[in-house]
């Protein structure tokens, strides 16, 4: 079947041109001045701090969004209350909002000068914008929906039979949740966590607005890449990008390991 090969060629060609080759180039260009230069570029104090900031974002946003995600999914699927459909729709909000708008929104609320809450917080000595808390909030916003969206279908799929069985056997709500529900959804949760982490790692637009991009202080890895580029330090930019790309590939690997288990349950 000639057409089969034609289709395959077209599809793979498109993917190579758009995805494959550009990404491969990052790796190549990172080493354009040699491995030593690349290594140096990502181990400067600024670079290290930038990766550290990214780590902090992830370490805070992911657990919080996971807990929220599980509780929210449970509420949406298992409980009945007014505004349930609204909650369901609103969880998807971060998908519809441009990251820049997210940054702007946080600025307006938590900004020191006219922020709704920001002014008051500034008086208490708490700075949100141009500081770590603001960046964490931005990261939390954009990575909010993933755990919820992965857990909801799994919760629906497994149905209430197991939970009812646990009830007839004497388990109270707590016991049922921790011993029956949670283990049953664990792969959905895991997958959601991986997606959340990937999103948090890669966040750029919102933290761009909110951080002030102060090198060595409020700069995440992604902002670091931009800064290096703007200072014509291409090796630095590519090297840092390579690290981020490696993390992305690790994420993909995790996704692929978990996805079949999720499908099986």
């Amino acid at each position: 079947m000639r057409s089969k090969y034609a289709l395959r060629f077209l599809a793979l060609g498109y993917l190579a041109a758009l995805l494959g080759i550009p990404v491969a180039l990052v790796f190549i260009n990172a080493f354009q001045d040699g491995i030593g230069a690349a290594w140096e570029a990502v181990t400067t104090p600024e670079a290290q701090h930038a990766f550290y900031m990214t780590f902090v974002m992830v370490a805070v946003a992911v657990p919080l969004n996971t807990v929220f995600g599980i509780l929210c999914a449970h509420a949406i699927v298992r409980q009945r209350f007014r505004g349930r459909a609204l909650l369901n729709a609103m969880v998807d909000l971060p998908f519809a909002v441009s990251p820049v708008v997210v940054g702007l929104a946080l600025l307006l609320v938590y900004g020191r000068r006219d922020g709704w809450v920001g002014e008051w917080l500034a008086e208490q000595g708490i700075q949100v914008i141009f500081s770590t808390p603001g960046m964490i909030l931005a990261t939390m916003f954009v990575s909010l929906p993933f755990v919820v969206r992965e857990v909801v279908p799994v919760l629906r799929e497994i149905g209430t039979d197991q939970e009812q069985a646990a009830a007839t056997l004497g388990a109270n709500a707590f016991q049922t949740f921790f011993r029956v529900t949670l283990p049953a959804i664990r792969y959905g949760v895991a997958y959601g966590v991986v997606l959340t982490t990937a999103r948090a790692l890669g966040e750029f637009g919102a933290v761009s607005v909110v951080s002030g991009k102060i090198s060595g202080q409020t700069q995440t890895a992604t902002l670091f890449v931009e800064e290096r580029f703007q200072r014509f330090d291409l090796t630095g930019a590519y090297a840092a990008s390579m690290v981020l790309a490696l993390l992305a590939l690790a994420t993909l690997l995790a996704m692929n390991l978990i996805k079949p288990k999720e499908a099986r349950s």
């Binding site: 758009l18 990052v26 919080l64 519809a96 702007l104 307006l108 609320v109 750029f204 902002l223």
Partner: protein
Amino acid sequence: MTYLGVVALIPLAAVVAKSLEAGLDTFWSAVTNDQAVASLRLTLIASLIVVIVNALAGTLIAWVLVRDDFPGKGIVNSLIDLPFALPTIVASLTLLAFYGPDSPVGIDVAFTKVAVVLALLFVTLPFVVRAVQPVLLELDREMEQAAESLGASRATVFRRIVLPNLLPAIIAGGGLAFARAVGEFGSLVLITGNIPFDTQAASVFIFGQVESDNAVAASAVSVVLLLVSLGLLLLFGRLSKKALKHEE
């Protein structure tokens, strides 16, 4: 609920509030400002082009991944999600490496409108593919076989049997892609040059306004952008459901 409120709802409400702070007139003038309009127009047109290309390419890729078999297919399948996992700024850099002034094959479309489309294509790649794949997997092959036994050619089978069944998924995926493209920022930053009136997308325009301390204008255009993406999601969602109903 409170969590959701603090993190998401209140800040968004603030944007809306700010946009109207100086009155409707200012809102209107901010939105109809030439540069703003140019950026919005670029964003919408580029996103539309991207959605159409994705509808075609995404379906094609999904088809090849489901119906075809070749060594390394698993890896290719996993790589589809790369745009989800890769930070957008890195995406900008990678596209610049291949399609910019230092391109190893001599293609240089950096700082042109093509670059905008390119960047958007990159980040929206997975949406249609991942929406169509499961539907294609579930598709009852016997339908196609019945059609063939009745004399339909492969192309006809695709057009009249397979495609209608895929349409809801294509539309749904397209809607998500559209909403994402409209708000995209990071991947545009390095490769487009962000030239006002030329290659400046709406999100970049808003960013510029924020940097210039022009919060009201930024908010106004943001509100427009928000309405557009929400509207698109609703529209595509409804279209998708309608297409689904026809299949029942």
